[in-house]
Symmetry: C2
Amino acid sequence: MTKIITISREFGSGGRQIGHMLAEKLGIPFYDKELIKMAADDIDIEEHIFEMYDQAFMDKHETVHDILTYTYEVPMSDQIFMAQSRVIHRLAQHGPCVIVGRCADMVLKDEQCLNLYFYANVKKRVQRLLALDGLPEENAKKVEQKVREVDQKRKDYYQYYTGNEWGKPKNYHLCLDSLKAGMDACVAAVTAYMAYLG
Amino acid sequence: MTKIITISREFGSGGRQIGHMLAEKLGIPFYDKELIKMAADDIDIEEHIFEMYDQAFMDKHETVHDILTYTYEVPMSDQIFMAQSRVIHRLAQHGPCVIVGRCADMVLKDEQCLNLYFYANVKKRVQRLLALDGLPEENAKKVEQKVREVDQKRKDYYQYYTGNEWGKPKNYHLCLDSLKAGMDACVAAVTAYMAYLG
């Protein structure tokens, strides 16, 4: 049975949490930000620089690229992506796991993975995030703006590193609306589907 | 529990067959071409003209549109779509069912539906169609061309009548690769997900 699960997700959809629930149910490791640390070890870059870069990519790609690349032949962004990709391959070879983000679906395209994409209506995602942070309704507009911004950044990141369109079904095996029937429903659907994989 | 299931599907993905399996498992009716007959009754158009039109739309939209519309104030294509939409609404009000195609997901957008989209790798769909028709591998190229043509027509039809992009996850609640884990896997995943719907 395929046990390497990659997860792509819209911001606020709960895809990360569903990944965690899946990992727990299947008794396999769950990776997201830990990847950064492991990748940093892999190419001997100080972890704080790595994290700074990683955050900065999400804030403004071009500027950080300009700042960090002048001392490297290969752009820093690409070095980091390649290092993370090596770590993802290593994890996949090591055994079953759940990997969130980092274009893992494309990095592992030749492996026997199950690629998942979680999404949901923007208004529902905003309500979920407001509830999670205990924020009143008056923050809805601001949160919605944040949701759209993060989605756009994830889309750009995916497009930049894979050349493919983020959120297009053909890149995944299952795409699930996480807030129509709830997170438990998603876990149930994915495990039911997986049971048939050779 | 939501029991009105709409199905959109890439050509050769087996989405229609999965719809049939779902209807059987849930003990509810299954509709596809029957809709045409019911819609014909609804607006008193001779069934054979209806079927001729419907086939012709798939062959070449413009010509048929030209031929059939000159006697109507509202274009024939739109009359038929509206009639089919009325039938779809009637079916949905009557009780649980599975409806394949005809933009039923958008026609029923205010109802409590579960909208599914089935897709699969083009090469795998070609192999499935060759096997279904007992055709040798040398027909693969021709079948692949047919697959791409029918997909394009479905995309155009959906775009024309709904203004939305066919095959974009946000239009559906679950998108499933039907040929990764097989049709039984899809039925299992959908029913597992449905079990959580209020």
